[in-house]
């Protein structure tokens, strides 16, 4: 599992590179994933990107099927957006003020 950065969408704010716990993302005007195989999959970078440019995927070696996931935030609502290879899109909205049920 790792991330991809859409350079068309990236506005070069540098926040993803700043927060990655493994210092894996570098900046060259725009952000790029410098060490794809070292990603822990924590999704910190994805939640930090207000442009929705960082996309997360599961590696084929762990059963990934090619969906790309990014997030969108509005107030307390964090929306996880999953773009599937067949073109369909799934969304899950999480209220950050609500606890897990389990």
């Amino acid at each position: 599992m790792s991330i991809m950065i859409d350079s068309e969408k990236c506005i070069g704010c540098g926040r993803c590179a700043e927060v990655c716990p493994g210092n894996l993302i570098a900046m060259d005007g725009k952000a790029y994933m410098k060490y794809p195989k070292d990603c822990w999959g924590c999704t910190s970078c994805i939640k930090e990107c207000s442009a929705g440019a960082v996309k997360f995927f599961l590696g084929a070696d762990m059963g990934g099927m090619g969906s790309l996931v990014h997030t969108r935030q509005q107030g307390d609502i964090l929306t996880w957006v999953m773009e599937c290879p067949d073109g369909s899109v799934k969304e899950i909205h999480i209220n950050r003020k609500e606890s897990n049920r389990y």
Partner: protein, 562 residues
């Protein structure tokens, strides 16, 4: 590299859970004390809490007492715990929880405003943003300075007293020499010692952060600090492939561990943390694998709640469910044991500390996963220890001033790092040597491949190979500061591996299946081994020290250190 010299009253190494909380504690209790946090990443999302956590695993619920928590942890560790450390931690669990809530953590409450509990010791939360909340609290403290992207590598110690530490920036060519009156080490545990479950592209999809490389242990070992119980490795039982936590399934929807034939097997092997792993290993060995958590038949509302809960702590698992098109209600969740880690917050490995969390080096305190003797700490326990260590450091600096670091020592550490940058054309790269180390540990020191088992002959072979790789690591070269960090991480892991092997060899019994399963000594031996196995590096050799159990009515002090 450029050399920068800094000084601070208290230096905190590692701005994770324990480190941030130690800084907050000093900020609140002693606003004139200068605190510096050096963090290799950025405290906003660094360490174990990066993705978020699913619950607070350590809380004293109604009807339970701190002593009950001590008893539980002692039983789970088959007796090898420090009663004094567990009790002083347990007594603080509820206060730090309430503090977390004041900082903004969402904790589930009932209509009467009381926390809703999960089992005897857990609270339900939304833990997705727990780390940014702690980071914000740190930044609100006027006396705390944070240096992000600074990787610390060595302590400065003379006459067994801390003077400061060395490190470098992982992005800019800056080497730091930092003097401090006291140091709190909070670098977490060690992952990446053994070959992981996923060995290819997703090699870093492991449970414990691959960026916690055991730096704190290695720095302490090299400086002659005493370490304890490394042989009690932690192996997590996790969802296959995603290595996501299973507690939410086990506790949330009461999913039982079943084998391929659908039989519940957990009762057969016992319910301690190591027995649960062992049971799963045994079912596989005996041809009844794979093993699962039985989720088939749960409701679609439960499916939905699980999808959400996992997004808040381990998003890969939610994506896996969605991509496969099979929800947990339709398909049981396959489980497997991870590779072994050294983590003092789950098991008891780490620095040998006194009740006040001072290590055997004067003025060096330890908290969180890096500190030993006190398992089942989890998030709240790491916070509790962070606050205890901070209070102790404050008392210490009352009567201890700076003792400067000599230019000769600075220059030695500076050139040790610079040589990797100056050199080019090395036969090996860091990745190759890391793979070599993980393969050796996997095959000869009880990794996944040998079902976590080992014997003395294998350990001796492991020791020999790791020593050779240590020498090869000295020939590496680094093109930039990130590569320099990778080289230091490898060296730290190798140092930890050697101590670990010595500990595994020293406990000539099998007290915990899987965690420390010695095939030459398959039985538990209370007569000889109801004691701590400690170690110290002396003149380049690891000396094993056995110590008697410490109970909770005792205030333990180091009375035989230099």
């Amino acid at each position: 590299m450029e050399l920068q010299k800094l000084s601070t009253d208290v230096l905190i190494i590692g701005g994770g859970t324990a480190g941030c909380y130690a800084a907050i504690t000093i900020g609140e209790h002693s606003p004139d004390t200068k605190v510096l946090i050096c963090e290799k990443a950025n405290i906003r999302r660094s360490g174990c809490l990066a993705a978020g956590v699913n619950a607070l695993n350590a809380y004293i619920t109604d009807g339970q007492t701190p002593q009950d928590y001590v008893d539980y942890a002692r039983k789970d560790a088959e007796g090898i715990v420090r009663g004094d450390l567990l009790l002083t931690m347990s007594e603080k669990l509820n206060a730090v929880t309430e503090h977390l809530e004041r900082l903004g953590l969402v904790i589930l409450k009932d209509e009467k405003g009381k926390y809703v509990t999960r089992g005897k010791r857990n609270l339900k939360i939304n833990g997705e943003n727990i780390k940014p909340l702690l980071a914000d609290a740190v930044y609100s403290m006027k006396n705390v300075t944070v240096l992000n992207h600074v990787n610390m590598t060595d302590f400065s110690v003379s006459e067994n007293r801390i003077k400061g530490a060395f490190g470098f920036n992982v992005r800019k060519e800056i080497f730091y020499s930092i003097t401090a009156k006291a140091v709190i080490i909070c670098t977490g545990g060690a992952a990446g010692l053994y070959q992981p479950n996923n060995t290819g592209f997703s090699r870093h999809k492991m449970w414990y952060p691959p960026f916690n490389t055991g730096a704190g242990y290695a720095m302490g070992i090299r400086a002659g600090a005493e370490m304890t119980t490394f042989e009690m490795r932690f192996i997590a039982l996790r969802c296959k492939d995603t290595i996501a936590p299973t507690g939410t399934l086990a506790q949330g929807v009461s999913a039982k561990q079943i084998n391929a034939q659908g039989e519940v097997y957990e009762d057969k092997y016992g319910l301690t943390t190591s027995q649960r792993v062992h049971g799963t290993v045994m079912e596989n060995i005996n041809g009844r694998g794979p093993c699962y958590l039985k989720t088939e038949g749960i409701t679609s509302e439960q499916d939905d709640a699980l999808l959400r809960a996992y997004l808040n702590m381990s998003p890969s698992q939610t994506i896996k469910w969605l991509e496969s098109g099979k929800m947990p209600s339709q398909q049981n969740v396959e489980i497997e044991g991870t590779e072994p880690y050294i983590v003092g917050g789950h098991t008891a490995s780490g620095y040998w500390v006194d009740t006040d969390r001072e290590t055997t080096i004067h003025g060096l305190f330890a908290a969180g996963d890096v500190a030993g003797g006190c398992p089942q700490k989890y998030v709240t326990g790491a916070l509790a220890e962070g606050s205890i260590a901070a209070q102790s450091a404050l008392r210490y600096i009352d009567s201890h001033d700076f003792s400067g670091i000599s230019d000769e020592e600075i220059s030695r550490h500076f050139w040790e790092a610079e040589k990797f940058l100056d050199r080019d054309n090395a036969p090996f790269d860091c990745e190759q040597l890391e793979e070599a180390m993980q393969t050796v540990m996997d095959r000869y020191a009880g990794g996944i491949r040998t079902n976590y088992r080992y014997n003395e002959k294998q350990l001796a072979a492991a020791n020999e190979r790791i020593s050779q790789i240590e020498k090869l690591a000295e020939t590496l070269c680094a093109d930039d500061m990130h590569e320099l960090m990778s080289i230091y991480e490898l060296r730290e892991r190798l140092t930890v591996c050697k101590s670990l092997i010595a500990h595994l060899a020293a406990r000539k019994e099998t007290r915990w299946h899987s965690f420390a399963e010695n095939l030459d000594y398959p039985e538990r031996d209370d007569e000889n081994y109801l004691c701590y196995i400690n170690s110290r590096l002396e003149n380049g050799r690891i000396r094993i020290i056995r110590r008697r159990p410490v109970k909770e009515d005792e205030h333990y002090e180091h009375n035989d250190r230099q």
